[in-house]
Amino acid sequence: MNPLPQPVSINLFVFFIWIFVGALGYPLLQKRETLLKPLALLLSIGSILLAYSAFLSLLSGTDYRFTVEGGLPGLLFHLHLDPLSSFFLLILGGAGTGVLLFSGGSLHAMSPRKKPGFFLNLSFFMASMEGVFLADDAYLFMIFWEAMALFSTFLVLTDRDRSEVRDAGYLYLLMAHFGSLLIMMGFFFLASREPSGQVQFLESLTFNAMATSTPSTGLSFLIFLLVLLGFGAKAGLIPLHVWLPRAHPAAPTPASALLSGIMLKTALYGIIRLLFGLLGLDHLSATWGIPLLLTGGLMALFGILHALLQSNPKKLLAYSSIENIGILFLGVGLAILYFKSGHPVAGEIALGAVLYHAINHAFFKTLLFLGAGTIIHASRTNDLNAMGGLLRRMPVSGGLVLAGILFASGLPPGNGFVSEWLLLQSTLQAWILSNTLFRSAVLLGAALLVLASALSAMGFVKFFGIGYLGIPRSEEAGKAHEVSFLELTGMGWLAGGCLLLAALPLTLLKGINHVIRSLTGHVFPDTLLSGGWIWIRPISAHGASYSPPLLLALLLAALPLPWVLLRLLRKPSTRTSPAWGCGYSVRTPRMQDTADAFGQPIRHFFPFFFAMKRRIPAPDEKDPLLELSVEDPHWPYLFRPLLRLFVRFSELADRVRTGRISVYLVYSFVTLLFLLSVLRWM
């Protein structure tokens, strides 16, 4: 056997580090809690190594397959490191490092009873995500996929003494399992040629064999649907998203950051791997892009609208993740549509934008979740309405979160903007499509996309404005203090990553070019990559362009200029005084806006996105109380009816149980007679 290429061996090494440290950490932490910090540092070192090696292998376009002993007879464990896996490993390692560093500082607050288990699950969770990206056959993929689901569930269930946490974990696990089954079906249909023997049968389940399969159009569509729904369950595809806003907030902070920031990307990985890699562009159809695109757009809108109504910061961020996943789906649909209508350039831009947005989202969403965790911890509540004034008390972490907010809102010069910009450029290529339906769909997608991203800015203003600004709305919030150094390091790492992604997108786009080439055989147009590290010119040399580093430089230069001028001319004297209160001197924190007030116009304007119950008190009531509850409409209109249906079915099935022996004997008797008559007369 040849020696493994360096990135591969680093990958395996990191995998074993995570497994080993996790397994070893469990008993160690039971004995000595203080070991947590060094152990978490060990995990993060692994993570940094992973990011480093993934970055190298992505840029060099490493493509290496190998097998490991194990698995089923005739189906060894197949592993594969290609640009696509490298890219997602980079996400895992890059964003993971920040979270792991943070957890080294934040976990000290966790109860000692939960610490070892949490640590174990955390490291195994990381390892299983790595496995998902490396697996190259259906069996191994499913093992890692389910392991990932499982360990993440355990992470969610860390505070399982609270019933809402248990419910969230349960719902999540159920959805995850449902998704896994569909994914499994997708694999099987991809490999569904009847081979001759056991060995051939199992070999057809390797990704390599699946990539060469030639399913019919109908079958391809079935596979497409299965893949979409299967991975959609993990990604939070509407209507399978209901677990997401429950599970992500229920988990301890590092876990929710990983779930939202990184794990959702595994679903994207799966979709891209199965649709573009295994099913192949040849078996896709342009028309299928439309539902994907529109679902993505609606999902983005739905997600952000709900985000705007949340008063739990983590819930807000979870819904915002749904929005971002919607954007990713939209991009994938767009890519399919363009590729299959014969416009690879626009398709590449869309796919590239999707990948870029994936890594952006990973960085800023983990950062924001960590931030949300710090304020929840600092103010001892998960209600934005009891926070406020935290930026003064936690200036460094607050500043980092502010940076994250700007990055996440899809505004220049942030990193989120780069990917949204690319995606918009791709939608604006709609004029090259000859089919009016396709065009209209793309434009509708674009319209939804810009609407959603504008709303997301509003959502983040709510998050930051209510949480960090103003005056404290509760006593605890007033007593908040800055988080520990390790936590800041973790958040700083993520913010730094965002900044790099924002300033130097071209470097990574070169890597993404390898990914797209290995998946579709197409490469980015020369103009995109010829801009050095300064210019992004996606379509042509004279078309639209954007230069993130220059813009950043200009802004950095322009911001302090007036300040300097002001200082030079005349240093203004400064004093502090109470804020204006219409002439009244009483000013309580309750006079500030609430988080719910921020959502009010949204509720008012988009009522059909919510299942609302409102009770307005009658004028003569003694204790007038306005009651308002807002719910995800999928609960009352989809899932609860489904649940009722299931209960009805199981009651029906239970009618078989009469408890009377005679009736049971009749069953046997009738079965026998029935079979005999069938045998005799058919």
Binding site: A147, M185, R193, R657
Partner: protein, 489 residues
């Protein structure tokens, strides 16, 4: 005489237990005998895999690769269960639920039960197979009724009547089979010997064989717990002592399915139509569906897992119905996996019931708080039994579904529904049991010493099988299936 030797140990054991079963050391002696049996079965299997099938006692006994797998499984689980039952009974005893007499009855019947199952597995004579399966039924009837509570008597009675009637149908099937084979093989000794039948299976009269197979599947199917013949199963599992539930679910159901499969091979040779496949798939699917749908309403933890057994036996049956090299392989793997996991779950459940003093799920609370290791074991059992990788049931379900995609895609919606429902319900219940308590604990101050070896051995094996089902082992399985012709079709 390998074949006899595996029977010897339980036989002697049964007698010894009959005499000294009430003494203090008897339980340890039981472990000794069970492990001796396990050793013998292991050697036998080794021999079979190394040197080919064994025939003995005037061709009445016989073991090939297929039976060897079941023999080892029976021996192994019989041994670990004896380990578990030692601790289980010790706890019962410490609470005054166990007299010496009862212990003697229990231990000797336990050995007899092992004996009858091993006889089923090594008998070449289909009549003898019937006899010993009936013997196993009778033994377990007594074991189910062992605690003498009204509920257990009821359950045993139900079990006795339903299985008695069922197995009578199987006897009629045997008669029909004999009737058909006698024409080729001539009257007398050899016409019921499986080895001879297999050699001439193509010449057997299809009309009769078809009829016979229906009687067999209704008869032995009752013992497998195929819906709608399954109604004895939940009660028997729920009311018997936990070790017995474990071996019922882990072994007896397997052995009954083993019998059906032996007949299926013969019937397939004669019939030239997919009758057996269709019957197995039909029964299997029905069991899977009803088994999973019935779980929601269950309030009794053992009953809950009994329905899970119905579901899993249905799945295995379905897999054999799918047939082909992979279908049968998956079915056999599923049986192996289910035996290991379900018996272990019953170990866990047994201890949980002992520590919480009730079998009713709403009354079982705080397991995680009271005995974290039990809660962990229950959780892992739940994971393993619902097909979470890398436990072996995942591997088999993976394969079953992949074969179903190719051979019976129409069945997929039903299978998936059943799998997800099972998963959902089981977790719901497990979570419920870990939840807050609504009532005070029955044995608040008592911390029974629980043995986890058998539990972890089973789970560990299931884990390893799922993760490293080596090529070598796979070859053995493949050979075993191929040699008896289950890979055709």
């Amino acid at each position: 005489m390998f074949l006899l030797s595996i029977l010897l140990s339980p036989l002697i054991g049964a007698f010894v237990m009959g005499f000294v079963g009430h003494t203090k050391a008897a339980s340890r002696l039981n472990i000794l005998f069970s492990f001796l049996t396990f050793g013998a079965t292991f050697l036998l299997a080794w021999n079979v895999f190394a040197n080919g099938p064994l025939v003995g006692l005037d061709e009445q006994l016989f073991a090939d690769g297929f039976s060897a797998i079941f023999i080892v499984l029976t021996g192994g689980i019989g041994a670990t269960t004896s380990l578990f039952s030692h601790r289980y009974m010790a706890i019962e005893k410490s609470r005054g639920h166990l007299t010496g007499e009862k212990q003697r009855l229990y231990l000797s019947l336990y050995q007899v039960f092992l004996l009858t199952m091993l006889v089923v597995l090594v008998s070449n004579n289909l009549g003898l197979l019937w006899v010993s399966l009936e013997g196993a039924t009778l033994t377990t009837v007594l074991l189910v009724a062992w605690s003498r509570t009204p509920e257990s008597v009821k359950a045993a009675w139900k079990y006795f009547i339903l299985c008695g009637v069922g197995i009578a149908q199987a006897l009629f099937g045997t008669i029909l089979l004999y009737f058909a084979s006698e024409k080729t093989l001539g009257p007398g000794g050899t016409a019921l010997l499986w080895t001879h039948l297999a050699a001439v299976k193509h010449t057997l009269e299809p009309t009769v064989i078809g009829l016979a197979f229906v009687f067999f599947i209704v008869g032995y199917g009752t013992k497998v717990g195929l819906v709608p013949l399954h109604n004895w199963l939940p009660d028997a599992h729920a009311e018997g002592p936990a070790p017995i539930s474990a071996v019922l679910s882990g072994l007896l159901l397997n052995v009954a399915l083993y019998a059906i499969l032996r007949i299926k091979v013969l019937a397939d040779g004669s019939l030239h139509n997919p009758l057996t496949a269709h019957l197995l798939m039909g029964f299997g699917l029905l069991s899977v569906l009803l088994g999973s749908l019935s779980m929601w309403k269950r309030q009794d933890i053992k009953r809950l897992f009994a329905y899970s057994s119905i579901e899993h036996m249905g799945l295995a049956t379905f897999a054999f119905g799918l047939g082909g090299p992979m279908g049968s392989f998956a079915g056999l793997l599923h049986m192996t996996a289910h035996s290991l996991i379900k018996s272990s779950i019953f170990f866990v459940v047994g201890h949980i019931v002992q520590t919480s003093g009730s079998q009713k799920i709403p009354e079982i609370r705080d397991v995680a708080l009271r005995t974290p290791s039990l809660a962990r074991a229950l959780l892992i059992g739940g994971l393993a039994v619902t097909g979470i990788p890398p436990f072996a049931i995942f591997a088999s379900e993976f394969l079953i579904l992949s074969v179903a995609v190719r051979r019976a895609p129409w069945s997929l919606p039903l299978l998936l529904l059943a799998i997800i429902v099972t998963f959902g319900v089981l977790y719901f219940r497990i979570q419920e049991m870990n939840g807050e308590s609504g009532r005070s604990l029955s044995f608040p101050n008592e911390k029974p010493k629980i043995t986890f070896y058998p539990i972890w051995i089973h789970f560990g094996l299931a884990f390893l099988i799922g993760l490293f089902f080596t090529h070598e082992l796979g070859r053995l399985y493949g050979l075993a299936l191929h040699s008896i012709g289950l890979t055709n079709g």
